[in-house]
Amino acid sequence: MPVAFDEMKGTDGAVRPAYSELSNWLSEVRPDVLDYRRREAELVFRRIGITFAVYGEADAQERLIPFDVIPRILAASEWTTLTRGLEQRVKAINLYIKDIYGKRECLRAGIVPEDLVFQNPVFRPEMNGQKVPHGIYVHVAGIDIVRVDADTFYVLEDNARTPSGVSYMLENREIMMRLFPELFARHRVAPVDNYPDELLATLQSVAPSSSPGEPTVVLMTPGVYNSAYYEHSFLADKLGIELVEGRDLFVKNEIVYMRTTQGPKRVDVIYRRIDDDFIDPLAFRPDSALGVPGLMSAYQAGNVTLANAVGTGIADDKAVYSYMPDIVKFFLGEEPILKNVPTWRCREEEHLSYVLDNLEQLVVKEVHGSGGYGMLIGPSADKATIAAFRAKLKSAPKNFIAQPTLALSTCPTCVDSGLAPRHVDLRPFVLTGRDRVRIVPGGLTRVAMKAGSLVVNSSQGGGTKDTWVLAG
């Protein structure tokens, strides 16, 4: 595996400009001070109750995501490029989804294979020919970015359904400002705390044109047992909107209402953090107790906005991912600013045979998987695991894509033995409203806490860092 690019020390060991103040500070600060604040941060997180649930772990119903107190820093110029690339990509994603459920020009032009769309379980035939308010499908996107050298950022994954993690971006900053005021004084860090305002403005801007007066926006959660419940309640609070569950809503004459202490109240925009499958037992999974019967009918009648729209999964599926550069070119007529990680589609014979020959060097992912489950990391897998995976791959090649094992960039991170480089990724959040696209300067930096590990997912023991974008 190639040597990883360190965001503080580059590849030649010389401290990069964005990190110079941090590097000075780190050489001055006493290790026990760092350690003390690290424990203090954990205490605060535990107390506030910023926890998440890991599915399938009976003993740890609520767990903390490890928080690393060393910030990850991006220079203003790096951020500018990222922003342009993110905006471009999300624009293309919106046009692509609109096209799929509309004219299907990209299918006719052969940009994306039809079966990838129509045989995809996340494709929603209910959305065919369906207009959505203001033509926007993905109001909130989380685009996962990795970096491999000083100039190259790759998009690792698009999250166009119900991306989570933004509460960590906000809480991490809050805690850092509380614990390290002196470090902030030495930097000009662009603020992120206007995110809730930007999100609310975005959501209000997409209310159906039929809705009377000031639109009522709510955040819909599957409930307290959902792994991201903390984030749902946190955001509802910051936005000053009601946090509703399915049972709080009902539909009458194709209009959505919530049950309040003063009787029914009309709802215009639902920022839903619940999957398509569960939102309406009449339209999708009939066994869903989390949804609202009739919600789809109100949606189809144009009386309520769902953010994100139904059926956006056809844009962030790992199988579709490899076509994104072509999608950008097709819909915008521009070269993609952000590159994709080179990807082999196992559905194509040539690609498959390459992948089978090089399993030891590749990362192979299930196209419908998420959270780091069901993937093979060739270089760190033993022979038996590879053999088992080979069989799985051969039996259903369509279900897999493969990528080179990237040397993700590293950042200095507090570990038991002191400071050490650890691999990181970045999830910025892109908001698309009727008026414009909004991107708050920052995002969620996830860090693999284990030495050498490339898996940053919180369900696999990854941690988070505060992400600083320096003002230009």
Partner: protein, 313 residues
């Protein structure tokens, strides 16, 4: 606000209040049973603790005998008893988590801190001394929750529903103590009461933290009918039925005027308060203390149901 949010707040407050009440009952019982047998008499105080907690049926479904060990376990630590102190805190925290956005940071901190601390006590005390500490801690937790709500919440419907929960629960609790002990409070014609009775009366007052108040209000030694008077009719006594209904009426009125609409809850509550205001102890004794209390408990339940129908469902 969402009906479910109001419902959660209401029950959150009720469960914290109930936990505190159970701690008081257990503390008073522990104190009574620590006295020499000839002072306390033959009555089984642990049995009456179970009755006062209002869970005799579920208790005897599990245990044959009401003794210190069984009752302590059942009322304080059991997870099989949905109304044990531990269960109360668990449910309160679950409710709090479901309505995080309606709580202030201080309230969440109080209830979440309590819940985290609860684990430290595990499945039961290792000694009487530790158990006493536990009971103090339960009461302090409730005080902290109540105080943080009082000091930090916006005075809007969220606050009013929280208060409503507290006072409906408190009225029920005080009424239950009276229901179990009413026979000790009847005015005695002949004897002035032996030492046995004195300790019982003191224990009743202690369980509603009113022993000192009694002396300030009446400035005489403990008389059973005055104990009843204090707990039922004295508005200045925070846990009396009259005081609870002062507050219930007040907060229902706040809700009614904010929403611009009165309803059955408001009417029922005012009716009960008026009855309390117009009652005198001799009249209550004449018509039967026991009957009076039973009727009150039924009325109080009816109000809870009406509030639920009117606002929380």
């Amino acid at each position: 606000m969402l009906s479910r949010t109001a419902d959660n707040l209401y029950w959150l407050a009720r469960y914290v209040e109930r936990a505190e009440y159970l701690a008081r009952i257990l503390e008073a019982t522990q104190r009574l049973t620590a006295l020499p047998l000839d002072t306390v008499g033959e009555s089984n105080e642990w049995e009456s603790a179970v009755a006062t907690a209002g869970c005799a049926n579920s208790f005897y479904a599990i245990y044959d005998e009401a003794n210190e060990e069984n009752v302590t376990d059942f009322l304080a630590f059991s997870i099989d008893n949905p109304s044990s102190i531990r269960s109360c805190f668990e449910v309160a925290r679950t409710n709090a988590r479901a309505v995080r956005t309606a709580l202030t940071m201080e309230m969440w901190d109080a209830i979440n801190g309590t819940w985290l601390e609860l684990k430290r006590y595990g499945n039961g005390p290792t000694s009487r001394e530790e158990f006493s500490r536990y009971l103090r801690w339960v009461q302090e937790s409730s005080l902290r929750f109540d105080g943080s709500a009082y000091r930090t919440m916006l005075r809007n419907d969220a606050y009013w529903f929280t208060r409503l929960g507290i006072y409906l629960e408190r009225a029920d609790n005080t009424a239950r103590i009276l229901d179990v002990k009413y026979h000790m409070l009847l005015p005695a014609q002949e004897h002035v009461g032996g030492p046995l009775d004195y300790f019982q009366w003191a224990a009743i007052l202690r369980s509603v933290s009113a022993l000192t108040s009694y002396h300030w209000v009446y400035r005489e030694s403990l008389k059973p009918w005055l104990v009843a008077d204090l707990l039922i009719l004295k508005e200045e006594m925070p846990r009396s039925l009259a005081s609870c209904y002062e507050n219930i009426v007040r907060y229902l009125d706040d809700i009614g005027s904010a929403y611009g609409r009165q309803g059955p809850s408001q009417r029922l509550a005012r009716g009960i308060r008026t009855r309390l205001q117009n009652s005198r102890m001799d009249g209550i004794f004449q018509n039967g203390l026991h009957e009076f209390i039973q009727e009150f408990i039924a009325d109080n339940n009816r109000i809870s149901q009406t509030v639920t129908q009117q606002y929380l469902a």
